[in-house]
Symmetry: C2
Subunit: 328 residues, 2 copies
Protein backbone atom coordinates (compact mmCIF):
# COMPACT_ATOMS: atom_id res chain seq x y z
CA UNK A 1 0.00 0.00 0.00
CA UNK A 2 1.21 3.44 -0.94
CA UNK A 3 1.63 5.75 2.01
CA UNK A 4 0.00 9.17 1.90
CA UNK A 5 2.30 12.03 2.78
CA UNK A 6 1.45 14.10 5.81
CA UNK A 7 3.30 17.24 4.87
CA UNK A 8 2.55 19.80 2.17
CA UNK A 9 4.93 21.94 0.14
CA UNK A 10 3.64 25.38 -0.80
CA UNK A 11 5.22 27.76 -3.30
CA UNK A 12 4.38 31.42 -3.91
CA UNK A 13 5.66 32.35 -7.37
CA UNK A 14 5.64 36.13 -7.75
CA UNK A 15 7.05 38.64 -10.19
CA UNK A 16 10.01 39.50 -7.98
CA UNK A 17 10.34 36.69 -5.45
CA UNK A 18 9.77 33.04 -4.77
CA UNK A 19 8.64 31.81 -1.38
CA UNK A 20 8.54 28.17 -0.43
CA UNK A 21 7.22 26.60 2.74
CA UNK A 22 6.30 23.35 4.36
CA UNK A 23 3.00 22.83 6.20
CA UNK A 24 1.38 19.98 8.08
CA UNK A 25 -2.07 18.74 7.05
CA UNK A 26 -3.74 21.23 9.36
CA UNK A 27 -1.91 24.00 7.47
CA UNK A 28 0.40 24.82 10.35
CA UNK A 29 3.67 26.33 9.09
CA UNK A 30 6.71 24.10 9.65
CA UNK A 31 9.36 25.89 7.63
CA UNK A 32 9.59 28.83 5.23
CA UNK A 33 12.26 30.15 2.84
CA UNK A 34 12.26 32.99 0.37
CA UNK A 35 14.47 34.41 -2.34
CA UNK A 36 14.42 37.22 -4.86
CA UNK A 37 14.26 36.35 -8.55
CA UNK A 38 15.33 38.20 -11.65
CA UNK A 39 12.19 38.13 -13.74
CA UNK A 40 13.99 39.54 -16.78
CA UNK A 41 15.89 36.26 -17.17
CA UNK A 42 12.71 34.42 -18.15
CA UNK A 43 11.26 31.14 -16.93
CA UNK A 44 14.22 28.74 -16.96
CA UNK A 45 16.37 30.27 -14.17
CA UNK A 46 13.22 30.97 -12.14
CA UNK A 47 12.10 27.35 -12.42
CA UNK A 48 15.55 26.12 -11.33
CA UNK A 49 15.46 28.49 -8.38
CA UNK A 50 11.98 27.27 -7.49
CA UNK A 51 13.24 23.67 -7.51
CA UNK A 52 16.16 24.61 -5.26
CA UNK A 53 13.88 26.32 -2.75
CA UNK A 54 11.41 23.46 -2.76
CA UNK A 55 14.35 21.17 -1.89
CA UNK A 56 15.24 23.50 1.00
CA UNK A 57 11.85 23.00 2.61
CA UNK A 58 11.33 19.31 1.73
CA UNK A 59 11.04 17.07 4.77
CA UNK A 60 13.32 14.10 5.37
CA UNK A 61 12.25 11.57 4.26
CA UNK A 62 10.89 13.32 1.16
CA UNK A 63 8.21 10.65 0.62
CA UNK A 64 6.20 12.14 3.47
CA UNK A 65 4.95 14.83 1.03
CA UNK A 66 1.24 14.81 0.09
CA UNK A 67 1.83 17.20 -2.77
CA UNK A 68 3.19 20.54 -3.95
CA UNK A 69 0.92 23.55 -4.38
CA UNK A 70 2.00 26.55 -6.43
CA UNK A 71 0.37 29.97 -6.38
CA UNK A 72 1.14 31.83 -9.61
CA UNK A 73 -0.02 34.97 -11.37
CA UNK A 74 -2.59 34.16 -14.07
CA UNK A 75 -3.67 33.51 -16.70
CA UNK A 76 -2.97 29.84 -16.13
CA UNK A 77 -4.83 26.59 -16.63
CA UNK A 78 -5.47 24.87 -13.30
CA UNK A 79 -6.56 21.64 -15.02
CA UNK A 80 -3.40 21.18 -17.10
CA UNK A 81 -1.03 23.13 -14.83
CA UNK A 82 0.18 25.29 -17.72
CA UNK A 83 1.18 28.91 -17.03
CA UNK A 84 -0.28 30.74 -20.06
CA UNK A 85 1.22 34.23 -20.25
CA UNK A 86 1.21 36.24 -17.01
CA UNK A 87 2.06 39.93 -17.53
CA UNK A 88 4.08 39.75 -14.27
CA UNK A 89 6.23 36.82 -15.39
CA UNK A 90 8.45 38.03 -18.23
CA UNK A 91 8.91 35.51 -21.05
CA UNK A 92 6.60 32.86 -19.60
CA UNK A 93 4.44 31.48 -22.41
CA UNK A 94 2.57 28.20 -22.08
CA UNK A 95 5.02 26.78 -19.53
CA UNK A 96 3.88 23.29 -18.37
CA UNK A 97 4.91 24.01 -14.79
CA UNK A 98 2.93 21.18 -13.24
CA UNK A 99 4.51 18.52 -15.46
CA UNK A 100 7.98 19.98 -14.91
CA UNK A 101 7.58 19.86 -11.14
CA UNK A 102 5.91 16.44 -11.07
CA UNK A 103 8.80 15.01 -13.13
CA UNK A 104 11.28 16.55 -10.70
CA UNK A 105 9.68 15.65 -7.37
CA UNK A 106 7.44 12.69 -8.21
CA UNK A 107 4.49 13.93 -6.12
CA UNK A 108 1.17 15.48 -7.22
CA UNK A 109 1.54 19.17 -8.10
CA UNK A 110 -1.39 21.63 -8.14
CA UNK A 111 -1.25 25.10 -9.64
CA UNK A 112 -3.71 27.89 -8.93
CA UNK A 113 -3.94 31.56 -9.76
CA UNK A 114 -3.04 33.80 -6.86
CA UNK A 115 -6.55 35.13 -6.25
CA UNK A 116 -8.19 31.69 -6.22
CA UNK A 117 -5.47 30.37 -3.94
CA UNK A 118 -5.92 33.33 -1.60
CA UNK A 119 -9.66 32.58 -1.40
CA UNK A 120 -8.85 29.04 -0.26
CA UNK A 121 -6.40 30.47 2.27
CA UNK A 122 -8.84 32.93 3.80
CA UNK A 123 -11.53 30.22 3.91
CA UNK A 124 -9.12 27.74 5.55
CA UNK A 125 -7.25 29.85 8.07
CA UNK A 126 -8.28 33.49 7.59
CA UNK A 127 -11.21 35.87 7.78
CA UNK A 128 -13.63 33.36 6.20
CA UNK A 129 -12.67 30.34 8.28
CA UNK A 130 -15.60 27.94 8.61
CA UNK A 131 -17.59 29.61 5.83
CA UNK A 132 -18.91 27.77 2.76
CA UNK A 133 -20.00 30.74 0.58
CA UNK A 134 -16.98 33.02 0.27
CA UNK A 135 -15.83 35.73 -2.12
CA UNK A 136 -12.24 36.91 -1.77
CA UNK A 137 -11.32 40.11 -3.62
CA UNK A 138 -7.80 41.47 -3.97
CA UNK A 139 -7.22 45.14 -4.79
CA UNK A 140 -3.64 46.06 -5.68
CA UNK A 141 -2.04 46.72 -9.10
CA UNK A 142 -4.86 44.62 -10.50
CA UNK A 143 -8.18 43.46 -9.08
CA UNK A 144 -8.91 39.76 -8.89
CA UNK A 145 -11.14 37.37 -6.99
CA UNK A 146 -11.51 33.83 -5.87
CA UNK A 147 -14.98 32.50 -5.13
CA UNK A 148 -16.01 29.50 -3.07
CA UNK A 149 -19.55 28.26 -3.81
CA UNK A 150 -21.00 25.95 -1.19
CA UNK A 151 -17.56 24.75 -0.13
CA UNK A 152 -15.97 24.36 -3.54
CA UNK A 153 -13.57 26.66 -5.37
CA UNK A 154 -15.24 28.05 -8.50
CA UNK A 155 -12.98 27.39 -11.48
CA UNK A 156 -15.30 27.41 -14.50
CA UNK A 157 -15.11 25.41 -17.71
CA UNK A 158 -11.55 26.40 -18.63
CA UNK A 159 -10.45 27.41 -15.11
CA UNK A 160 -10.78 31.11 -15.96
CA UNK A 161 -13.06 32.07 -13.02
CA UNK A 162 -13.42 34.45 -11.20
CA UNK A 163 -12.29 37.71 -12.79
CA UNK A 164 -14.14 40.19 -10.59
CA UNK A 165 -11.87 43.01 -11.84
CA UNK A 166 -13.29 42.64 -15.34
CA UNK A 167 -16.91 43.23 -14.44
CA UNK A 168 -17.86 45.99 -16.89
CA UNK A 169 -18.62 49.44 -15.51
CA UNK A 170 -20.39 51.95 -17.74
CA UNK A 171 -18.99 55.44 -17.25
CA UNK A 172 -20.99 58.66 -17.26
CA UNK A 173 -19.78 59.39 -20.80
CA UNK A 174 -21.29 56.09 -21.94
CA UNK A 175 -18.02 54.26 -22.53
CA UNK A 176 -17.45 50.87 -20.94
CA UNK A 177 -14.67 50.46 -18.40
CA UNK A 178 -14.15 47.79 -15.74
CA UNK A 179 -13.83 47.53 -11.97
CA UNK A 180 -10.08 47.05 -12.34
CA UNK A 181 -9.56 49.94 -14.78
CA UNK A 182 -11.44 52.26 -12.42
CA UNK A 183 -10.46 51.10 -8.94
CA UNK A 184 -7.09 49.32 -8.89
CA UNK A 185 -4.03 51.10 -7.49
CA UNK A 186 -2.77 52.44 -10.84
CA UNK A 187 -6.23 53.85 -11.65
CA UNK A 188 -6.31 55.74 -8.34
CA UNK A 189 -2.80 57.07 -8.98
CA UNK A 190 -3.60 58.03 -12.58
CA UNK A 191 -6.65 60.06 -11.60
CA UNK A 192 -4.82 61.90 -8.82
CA UNK A 193 -1.96 62.71 -11.17
CA UNK A 194 -4.34 64.03 -13.82
CA UNK A 195 -6.19 66.20 -11.31
CA UNK A 196 -2.94 67.67 -9.95
CA UNK A 197 -1.74 68.32 -13.49
CA UNK A 198 -5.08 70.05 -14.04
CA UNK A 199 -4.25 72.47 -11.24
CA UNK A 200 -5.79 70.87 -8.15
CA UNK A 201 -3.94 71.08 -4.84
CA UNK A 202 -3.04 67.89 -2.98
CA UNK A 203 -0.61 66.82 -0.29
CA UNK A 204 0.32 63.97 -2.64
CA UNK A 205 2.48 66.45 -4.61
CA UNK A 206 4.74 66.95 -1.57
CA UNK A 207 4.84 63.24 -0.75
CA UNK A 208 6.36 62.51 -4.16
CA UNK A 209 8.58 65.61 -3.98
CA UNK A 210 6.87 67.11 -7.02
CA UNK A 211 7.67 64.12 -9.25
CA UNK A 212 4.14 63.24 -10.34
CA UNK A 213 5.34 60.07 -12.08
CA UNK A 214 5.99 58.65 -8.63
CA UNK A 215 2.34 58.89 -7.53
CA UNK A 216 0.98 55.51 -6.53
CA UNK A 217 -1.84 54.13 -4.41
CA UNK A 218 0.44 54.06 -1.37
CA UNK A 219 1.12 57.81 -1.62
CA UNK A 220 -2.60 58.35 -2.12
CA UNK A 221 -3.32 56.32 1.00
CA UNK A 222 -0.79 58.27 3.08
CA UNK A 223 -2.15 61.62 1.93
CA UNK A 224 -5.74 60.51 2.51
CA UNK A 225 -4.89 59.29 6.02
CA UNK A 226 -3.57 62.82 6.70
CA UNK A 227 -6.85 64.35 5.55
CA UNK A 228 -5.99 65.28 1.96
CA UNK A 229 -9.37 65.85 0.34
CA UNK A 230 -8.37 65.00 -3.22
CA UNK A 231 -6.85 61.67 -2.20
CA UNK A 232 -9.82 60.87 0.06
CA UNK A 233 -12.20 61.55 -2.82
CA UNK A 234 -10.33 59.27 -5.20
CA UNK A 235 -10.18 56.41 -2.70
CA UNK A 236 -13.90 56.89 -2.12
CA UNK A 237 -14.51 56.64 -5.87
CA UNK A 238 -12.55 53.37 -5.95
CA UNK A 239 -14.56 52.13 -2.96
CA UNK A 240 -17.82 52.93 -4.73
CA UNK A 241 -16.77 51.10 -7.90
CA UNK A 242 -15.67 48.03 -5.91
CA UNK A 243 -18.94 48.29 -3.98
CA UNK A 244 -20.94 48.17 -7.22
CA UNK A 245 -19.02 45.06 -8.24
CA UNK A 246 -19.80 43.53 -4.84
CA UNK A 247 -23.52 44.22 -5.38
CA UNK A 248 -23.27 42.02 -8.49
CA UNK A 249 -21.52 39.36 -6.41
CA UNK A 250 -24.21 39.46 -3.70
CA UNK A 251 -27.09 39.12 -6.17
CA UNK A 252 -25.39 36.38 -8.18
CA UNK A 253 -23.79 34.32 -5.38
CA UNK A 254 -25.53 35.25 -2.12
CA UNK A 255 -22.29 34.69 -0.13
CA UNK A 256 -21.93 34.84 3.63
CA UNK A 257 -18.64 36.72 3.64
CA UNK A 258 -16.72 39.03 1.32
CA UNK A 259 -13.02 39.23 2.20
CA UNK A 260 -11.14 42.13 0.64
CA UNK A 261 -7.34 42.07 0.61
CA UNK A 262 -4.43 43.49 -1.38
CA UNK A 263 -2.24 46.56 -0.95
CA UNK A 264 -4.92 49.16 -1.59
CA UNK A 265 -7.00 47.88 1.37
CA UNK A 266 -4.30 49.16 3.73
CA UNK A 267 -6.16 52.47 3.36
CA UNK A 268 -8.80 50.89 5.58
CA UNK A 269 -12.03 52.78 6.16
CA UNK A 270 -11.15 55.38 3.54
CA UNK A 271 -11.88 52.60 1.04
CA UNK A 272 -14.24 50.39 3.07
CA UNK A 273 -16.73 53.04 4.18
CA UNK A 274 -17.75 54.20 0.70
CA UNK A 275 -17.65 50.56 -0.37
CA UNK A 276 -20.10 49.50 2.34
CA UNK A 277 -22.33 52.53 1.74
CA UNK A 278 -22.56 51.65 -1.96
CA UNK A 279 -23.45 48.06 -1.16
CA UNK A 280 -26.23 49.16 1.22
CA UNK A 281 -27.55 51.72 -1.25
CA UNK A 282 -27.84 49.36 -4.20
CA UNK A 283 -28.54 45.89 -2.85
CA UNK A 284 -32.01 44.81 -3.99
CA UNK A 285 -33.11 43.47 -0.61
CA UNK A 286 -31.75 43.48 2.94
CA UNK A 287 -31.89 39.67 2.88
CA UNK A 288 -28.57 39.78 0.98
CA UNK A 289 -26.79 41.85 3.63
CA UNK A 290 -28.46 40.91 6.94
CA UNK A 291 -26.06 38.05 7.65
CA UNK A 292 -23.26 39.27 5.40
CA UNK A 293 -19.79 40.14 6.67
CA UNK A 294 -17.49 42.36 4.59
CA UNK A 295 -14.02 41.99 6.08
CA UNK A 296 -10.40 42.87 5.50
CA UNK A 297 -8.20 39.90 4.68
CA UNK A 298 -6.58 38.34 7.75
CA UNK A 299 -3.55 36.47 6.43
CA UNK A 300 -1.20 39.17 5.15
CA UNK A 301 1.99 38.19 3.32
CA UNK A 302 1.57 34.44 3.86
CA UNK A 303 -1.81 34.27 2.12
CA UNK A 304 -0.39 32.74 -1.08
CA UNK A 305 1.60 30.12 0.84
CA UNK A 306 -1.33 29.09 3.04
CA UNK A 307 -3.52 29.02 -0.06
CA UNK A 308 -1.05 26.92 -2.04
CA UNK A 309 -1.03 24.46 0.86
CA UNK A 310 -4.85 24.48 0.93
CA UNK A 311 -4.78 23.81 -2.81
CA UNK A 312 -2.91 20.57 -2.15
CA UNK A 313 -5.19 19.66 0.74
CA UNK A 314 -8.27 20.12 -1.53
CA UNK A 315 -6.65 18.30 -4.48
CA UNK A 316 -6.49 21.41 -6.61
CA UNK A 317 -9.75 22.85 -5.33
CA UNK A 318 -11.70 19.73 -6.33
CA UNK A 319 -12.56 18.68 -2.79
CA UNK A 320 -15.09 20.43 -0.59
CA UNK A 321 -13.26 22.57 1.97
CA UNK A 322 -15.23 20.96 4.81
CA UNK A 323 -13.88 17.53 3.81
CA UNK A 324 -10.49 18.69 5.05
CA UNK A 325 -11.61 19.00 8.64
CA UNK A 326 -13.19 15.58 8.44
CA UNK A 327 -10.24 13.95 6.74
CA UNK A 328 -7.35 15.06 8.86
CA UNK B 1 -36.69 -1.87 3.00
CA UNK B 2 -38.37 1.28 1.84
CA UNK B 3 -38.98 1.34 -1.89
CA UNK B 4 -37.88 4.38 -3.86
CA UNK B 5 -40.52 5.81 -6.15
CA UNK B 6 -39.83 5.81 -9.86
CA UNK B 7 -42.15 8.61 -10.87
CA UNK B 8 -41.89 12.33 -10.26
CA UNK B 9 -44.64 14.90 -9.77
CA UNK B 10 -43.88 18.38 -11.10
CA UNK B 11 -45.87 21.54 -10.42
CA UNK B 12 -45.58 24.92 -12.11
CA UNK B 13 -47.13 27.51 -9.82
CA UNK B 14 -47.62 30.75 -11.74
CA UNK B 15 -49.49 33.99 -11.18
CA UNK B 16 -52.45 32.95 -13.37
CA UNK B 17 -52.28 29.18 -13.72
CA UNK B 18 -51.16 25.95 -12.13
CA UNK B 19 -49.74 23.14 -14.20
CA UNK B 20 -49.09 19.68 -12.81
CA UNK B 21 -47.42 16.75 -14.50
CA UNK B 22 -45.98 13.33 -13.93
CA UNK B 23 -42.58 12.31 -15.27
CA UNK B 24 -40.50 9.16 -15.18
CA UNK B 25 -36.96 9.25 -13.76
CA UNK B 26 -35.54 10.11 -17.18
CA UNK B 27 -37.83 13.16 -17.21
CA UNK B 28 -40.09 11.81 -19.91
CA UNK B 29 -43.57 13.29 -19.64
CA UNK B 30 -46.24 10.76 -18.62
CA UNK B 31 -49.21 13.01 -17.93
CA UNK B 32 -49.96 16.73 -17.72
CA UNK B 33 -52.88 18.84 -16.46
CA UNK B 34 -53.39 22.55 -16.14
CA UNK B 35 -55.89 24.97 -14.69
CA UNK B 36 -56.33 28.69 -14.31
CA UNK B 37 -56.22 30.21 -10.84
CA UNK B 38 -57.67 33.35 -9.37
CA UNK B 39 -54.64 34.98 -7.81
CA UNK B 40 -56.74 37.65 -6.09
CA UNK B 41 -58.21 34.99 -3.76
CA UNK B 42 -54.86 34.56 -2.01
CA UNK B 43 -52.90 31.44 -1.13
CA UNK B 44 -55.50 29.12 0.43
CA UNK B 45 -57.73 28.38 -2.61
CA UNK B 46 -54.63 28.18 -4.81
CA UNK B 47 -53.01 25.64 -2.51
CA UNK B 48 -56.23 23.54 -2.49
CA UNK B 49 -56.35 23.68 -6.28
CA UNK B 50 -52.68 22.68 -6.42
CA UNK B 51 -53.41 19.65 -4.24
CA UNK B 52 -56.34 18.67 -6.49
CA UNK B 53 -54.23 18.87 -9.62
CA UNK B 54 -51.38 16.94 -8.03
CA UNK B 55 -53.92 14.19 -7.27
CA UNK B 56 -55.01 14.21 -10.91
CA UNK B 57 -51.51 13.33 -12.08
CA UNK B 58 -50.53 11.00 -9.21
CA UNK B 59 -49.77 7.47 -10.35
CA UNK B 60 -51.59 4.42 -8.99
CA UNK B 61 -50.24 3.19 -6.65
CA UNK B 62 -49.27 6.60 -5.26
CA UNK B 63 -46.30 5.17 -3.35
CA UNK B 64 -44.36 4.98 -6.61
CA UNK B 65 -43.62 8.71 -6.29
CA UNK B 66 -39.99 9.76 -5.69
CA UNK B 67 -41.04 13.28 -4.77
CA UNK B 68 -42.90 16.44 -5.73
CA UNK B 69 -41.07 19.41 -7.25
CA UNK B 70 -42.66 22.85 -7.32
CA UNK B 71 -41.53 25.78 -9.44
CA UNK B 72 -42.70 29.04 -7.91
CA UNK B 73 -42.04 32.74 -8.39
CA UNK B 74 -39.49 34.05 -5.89
CA UNK B 75 -38.46 35.22 -3.41
CA UNK B 76 -38.62 31.87 -1.65
CA UNK B 77 -36.36 29.84 0.58
CA UNK B 78 -35.35 26.60 -1.14
CA UNK B 79 -33.90 25.19 2.10
CA UNK B 80 -37.05 25.60 4.20
CA UNK B 81 -39.56 25.48 1.33
CA UNK B 82 -41.18 28.75 2.43
CA UNK B 83 -42.64 31.09 -0.21
CA UNK B 84 -41.57 34.52 1.09
CA UNK B 85 -43.54 37.22 -0.75
CA UNK B 86 -43.67 36.91 -4.55
CA UNK B 87 -45.04 40.04 -6.27
CA UNK B 88 -46.88 37.69 -8.69
CA UNK B 89 -48.66 35.74 -5.94
CA UNK B 90 -51.13 38.06 -4.28
CA UNK B 91 -51.35 37.65 -0.51
CA UNK B 92 -48.65 35.00 -0.20
CA UNK B 93 -46.46 35.85 2.77
CA UNK B 94 -44.11 33.30 4.35
CA UNK B 95 -46.24 30.33 3.25
CA UNK B 96 -44.60 27.03 4.33
CA UNK B 97 -45.57 25.35 1.06
CA UNK B 98 -43.14 22.45 1.39
CA UNK B 99 -44.43 21.42 4.81
CA UNK B 100 -48.04 21.78 3.66
CA UNK B 101 -47.48 19.52 0.67
CA UNK B 102 -45.34 16.99 2.55
CA UNK B 103 -48.08 16.66 5.18
CA UNK B 104 -50.64 16.12 2.43
CA UNK B 105 -48.79 13.66 0.20
CA UNK B 106 -46.21 12.11 2.53
CA UNK B 107 -43.35 12.27 -0.01
CA UNK B 108 -40.36 14.62 -0.20
CA UNK B 109 -41.26 18.03 -1.65
CA UNK B 110 -38.71 20.40 -3.19
CA UNK B 111 -39.39 24.04 -4.02
CA UNK B 112 -37.31 26.17 -6.36
CA UNK B 113 -37.64 29.62 -7.86
CA UNK B 114 -38.71 29.57 -11.48
CA UNK B 115 -35.40 30.76 -12.92
CA UNK B 116 -33.30 28.22 -10.98
CA UNK B 117 -35.71 25.45 -11.90
CA UNK B 118 -35.57 26.47 -15.58
CA UNK B 119 -31.76 26.28 -15.47
CA UNK B 120 -32.02 22.68 -14.26
CA UNK B 121 -34.53 21.99 -17.03
CA UNK B 122 -32.38 23.38 -19.83
CA UNK B 123 -29.35 21.53 -18.44
CA UNK B 124 -31.30 18.26 -18.17
CA UNK B 125 -33.32 18.19 -21.39
CA UNK B 126 -32.84 21.51 -23.18
CA UNK B 127 -30.26 23.70 -24.87
CA UNK B 128 -27.60 22.97 -22.23
CA UNK B 129 -28.03 19.21 -22.07
CA UNK B 130 -24.79 17.51 -21.07
CA UNK B 131 -23.17 20.74 -19.89
CA UNK B 132 -21.73 21.30 -16.39
CA UNK B 133 -21.17 25.07 -16.43
CA UNK B 134 -24.48 26.66 -17.39
CA UNK B 135 -26.10 30.06 -17.02
CA UNK B 136 -29.80 30.31 -17.84
CA UNK B 137 -31.23 33.82 -18.19
CA UNK B 138 -34.92 34.63 -18.56
CA UNK B 139 -36.03 37.96 -20.03
CA UNK B 140 -39.71 38.71 -19.70
CA UNK B 141 -41.54 41.05 -17.27
CA UNK B 142 -38.52 40.58 -15.02
CA UNK B 143 -35.02 39.29 -15.62
CA UNK B 144 -33.80 36.32 -13.62
CA UNK B 145 -31.19 33.61 -13.85
CA UNK B 146 -30.29 30.16 -12.69
CA UNK B 147 -26.64 29.15 -12.64
CA UNK B 148 -25.11 25.70 -12.59
CA UNK B 149 -21.48 25.63 -11.42
CA UNK B 150 -19.60 22.45 -12.23
CA UNK B 151 -22.79 20.40 -12.24
CA UNK B 152 -24.47 21.89 -9.18
CA UNK B 153 -27.23 24.46 -8.95
CA UNK B 154 -25.92 27.65 -7.32
CA UNK B 155 -28.19 28.56 -4.41
CA UNK B 156 -26.03 30.67 -2.11
CA UNK B 157 -26.09 30.96 1.67
CA UNK B 158 -29.80 31.78 1.98
CA UNK B 159 -30.86 30.36 -1.39
CA UNK B 160 -31.08 33.85 -2.92
CA UNK B 161 -28.82 33.20 -5.95
CA UNK B 162 -28.73 34.08 -8.84
CA UNK B 163 -30.35 37.46 -9.43
CA UNK B 164 -28.75 38.38 -12.76
CA UNK B 165 -31.42 41.04 -13.32
CA UNK B 166 -30.13 42.99 -10.34
CA UNK B 167 -26.58 43.44 -11.56
CA UNK B 168 -26.14 47.21 -11.27
CA UNK B 169 -25.77 49.24 -14.46
CA UNK B 170 -24.46 52.80 -14.21
CA UNK B 171 -26.28 55.11 -16.61
CA UNK B 172 -24.73 57.96 -18.57
CA UNK B 173 -26.19 60.45 -16.11
CA UNK B 174 -24.32 58.70 -13.30
CA UNK B 175 -27.32 57.13 -11.61
CA UNK B 176 -27.35 53.43 -10.87
CA UNK B 177 -29.95 51.23 -12.55
CA UNK B 178 -29.99 47.46 -13.10
CA UNK B 179 -30.10 44.98 -15.96
CA UNK B 180 -33.78 44.32 -15.22
CA UNK B 181 -34.78 47.99 -14.93
CA UNK B 182 -33.14 48.70 -18.29
CA UNK B 183 -33.80 45.59 -20.35
CA UNK B 184 -36.89 43.67 -19.19
CA UNK B 185 -40.09 43.86 -21.24
CA UNK B 186 -41.68 46.73 -19.25
CA UNK B 187 -38.48 48.79 -19.60
CA UNK B 188 -38.50 48.36 -23.38
CA UNK B 189 -42.19 49.32 -23.50
CA UNK B 190 -41.67 52.32 -21.20
CA UNK B 191 -38.87 53.78 -23.31
CA UNK B 192 -40.81 53.36 -26.57
CA UNK B 193 -43.87 55.01 -25.01
CA UNK B 194 -41.79 57.94 -23.77
CA UNK B 195 -40.15 58.43 -27.15
CA UNK B 196 -43.50 58.36 -28.98
CA UNK B 197 -44.92 60.82 -26.43
CA UNK B 198 -41.88 62.96 -27.16
CA UNK B 199 -42.91 63.13 -30.81
CA UNK B 200 -41.04 60.25 -32.43
CA UNK B 201 -42.75 58.21 -35.13
CA UNK B 202 -43.13 54.45 -34.70
CA UNK B 203 -45.29 51.68 -36.15
CA UNK B 204 -45.93 50.67 -32.54
CA UNK B 205 -48.47 53.50 -32.32
CA UNK B 206 -50.64 51.83 -34.96
CA UNK B 207 -50.21 48.37 -33.43
CA UNK B 208 -51.75 49.59 -30.16
CA UNK B 209 -54.36 51.65 -32.05
CA UNK B 210 -53.02 54.85 -30.57
CA UNK B 211 -53.49 53.67 -26.97
CA UNK B 212 -49.92 54.10 -25.71
CA UNK B 213 -50.77 52.44 -22.39
CA UNK B 214 -51.08 49.17 -24.34
CA UNK B 215 -47.45 49.23 -25.51
CA UNK B 216 -45.61 46.11 -24.39
CA UNK B 217 -42.54 44.15 -25.42
CA UNK B 218 -44.65 42.00 -27.73
CA UNK B 219 -45.84 45.03 -29.69
CA UNK B 220 -42.25 46.27 -29.78
CA UNK B 221 -41.12 42.91 -31.14
CA UNK B 222 -43.81 42.91 -33.84
CA UNK B 223 -42.97 46.44 -34.95
CA UNK B 224 -39.25 45.69 -34.93
CA UNK B 225 -39.77 42.54 -37.00
CA UNK B 226 -41.51 44.77 -39.56
CA UNK B 227 -38.52 47.11 -39.68
CA UNK B 228 -39.65 49.85 -37.30
CA UNK B 229 -36.45 51.72 -36.47
CA UNK B 230 -37.47 53.01 -33.06
CA UNK B 231 -38.49 49.54 -31.85
CA UNK B 232 -35.35 47.97 -33.35
CA UNK B 233 -33.22 50.52 -31.53
CA UNK B 234 -34.86 49.87 -28.17
CA UNK B 235 -34.52 46.09 -28.51
CA UNK B 236 -30.87 46.64 -29.41
CA UNK B 237 -30.40 48.72 -26.28
CA UNK B 238 -31.89 45.91 -24.20
CA UNK B 239 -29.60 43.43 -25.97
CA UNK B 240 -26.56 45.56 -25.16
CA UNK B 241 -27.51 45.82 -21.48
CA UNK B 242 -28.08 42.05 -21.20
CA UNK B 243 -24.80 41.57 -23.07
CA UNK B 244 -22.97 43.67 -20.47
CA UNK B 245 -24.48 41.51 -17.74
CA UNK B 246 -23.35 38.41 -19.60
CA UNK B 247 -19.80 39.79 -19.74
CA UNK B 248 -19.88 39.83 -15.92
CA UNK B 249 -21.15 36.24 -15.95
CA UNK B 250 -18.39 35.10 -18.32
CA UNK B 251 -15.61 36.68 -16.26
CA UNK B 252 -17.01 35.45 -12.95
CA UNK B 253 -18.19 31.94 -13.90
CA UNK B 254 -16.43 31.00 -17.18
CA UNK B 255 -19.48 28.93 -18.30
CA UNK B 256 -19.68 26.79 -21.43
CA UNK B 257 -23.19 27.83 -22.38
CA UNK B 258 -25.53 30.77 -21.77
CA UNK B 259 -29.16 29.91 -22.43
CA UNK B 260 -31.51 32.87 -22.81
CA UNK B 261 -35.25 32.33 -22.59
CA UNK B 262 -38.41 34.24 -21.68
CA UNK B 263 -40.96 36.12 -23.77
CA UNK B 264 -38.68 38.94 -24.89
CA UNK B 265 -36.32 36.46 -26.61
CA UNK B 266 -39.06 35.72 -29.16
CA UNK B 267 -37.69 38.83 -30.88
CA UNK B 268 -34.75 36.62 -31.88
CA UNK B 269 -31.78 38.23 -33.60
CA UNK B 270 -33.13 41.72 -32.97
CA UNK B 271 -32.14 41.07 -29.35
CA UNK B 272 -29.42 38.44 -29.77
CA UNK B 273 -27.27 40.23 -32.36
CA UNK B 274 -26.57 43.35 -30.29
CA UNK B 275 -26.24 41.07 -27.26
CA UNK B 276 -23.55 38.96 -28.95
CA UNK B 277 -21.76 42.04 -30.34
CA UNK B 278 -21.59 43.54 -26.86
CA UNK B 279 -20.17 40.34 -25.41
CA UNK B 280 -17.48 40.16 -28.10
CA UNK B 281 -16.63 43.85 -27.70
CA UNK B 282 -16.16 43.77 -23.93
CA UNK B 283 -14.93 40.31 -22.99
CA UNK B 284 -11.40 40.59 -21.58
CA UNK B 285 -9.97 37.68 -23.57
CA UNK B 286 -11.18 35.42 -26.38
CA UNK B 287 -10.52 32.45 -24.11
CA UNK B 288 -13.90 33.19 -22.48
CA UNK B 289 -15.84 33.02 -25.77
CA UNK B 290 -13.90 30.56 -27.95
CA UNK B 291 -15.85 27.54 -26.72
CA UNK B 292 -18.91 29.44 -25.50
CA UNK B 293 -22.40 28.92 -26.88
CA UNK B 294 -25.07 31.60 -26.40
CA UNK B 295 -28.39 29.96 -27.25
CA UNK B 296 -32.12 30.50 -27.12
CA UNK B 297 -33.93 28.31 -24.61
CA UNK B 298 -35.18 25.05 -26.10
CA UNK B 299 -37.98 23.92 -23.79
CA UNK B 300 -40.74 26.48 -24.26
CA UNK B 301 -43.83 26.35 -22.05
CA UNK B 302 -42.87 23.11 -20.30
CA UNK B 303 -39.59 24.47 -18.95
CA UNK B 304 -40.93 24.94 -15.39
CA UNK B 305 -42.45 21.45 -15.29
CA UNK B 306 -39.32 19.74 -16.60
CA UNK B 307 -37.27 21.82 -14.16
CA UNK B 308 -39.51 20.97 -11.21
CA UNK B 309 -39.07 17.30 -12.10
CA UNK B 310 -35.29 17.81 -12.35
CA UNK B 311 -35.42 19.49 -8.93
CA UNK B 312 -36.79 16.25 -7.46
CA UNK B 313 -34.27 14.14 -9.37
CA UNK B 314 -31.41 16.27 -7.96
CA UNK B 315 -32.89 16.32 -4.43
CA UNK B 316 -33.57 20.03 -4.55
CA UNK B 317 -30.47 20.88 -6.57
CA UNK B 318 -28.18 19.26 -4.01
CA UNK B 319 -27.02 16.45 -6.29
CA UNK B 320 -24.66 16.90 -9.20
CA UNK B 321 -26.66 16.82 -12.44
CA UNK B 322 -24.34 14.16 -13.84
CA UNK B 323 -25.28 11.84 -10.96
CA UNK B 324 -28.74 11.56 -12.50
CA UNK B 325 -27.46 9.83 -15.62
CA UNK B 326 -25.45 7.47 -13.48
CA UNK B 327 -28.23 6.78 -11.01
CA UNK B 328 -31.14 6.04 -13.28
Amino acid sequence: METVGEQIIAVDLGGTQIRAARYDLKLNLLRRENTLTRAELGPQPTIERMKAYIRKVLPAPADDVLGIGISSPGPLNPFTGVIVAPPNLHGWLDVPLRDIMEAEFNVPVYIGNDANVAALAEASKGAAQGCRHVTYITVSTGIGAGIICDGKLLLGREGLAAEFGHIPIVLENGSVSSVELEAAGPAIARRIKRLIQGGEQSAVTDLVEGDLSRIDAKAAGMAAANGDRLAIKQLAYAGRIIGLGIVSILHLFNPEVIVVGGGVTKTGDLLFEPLRRTVQAHVMDDAYTENLRIEQAALGDDVALVGAAALVATAGGNLDISELDRRF
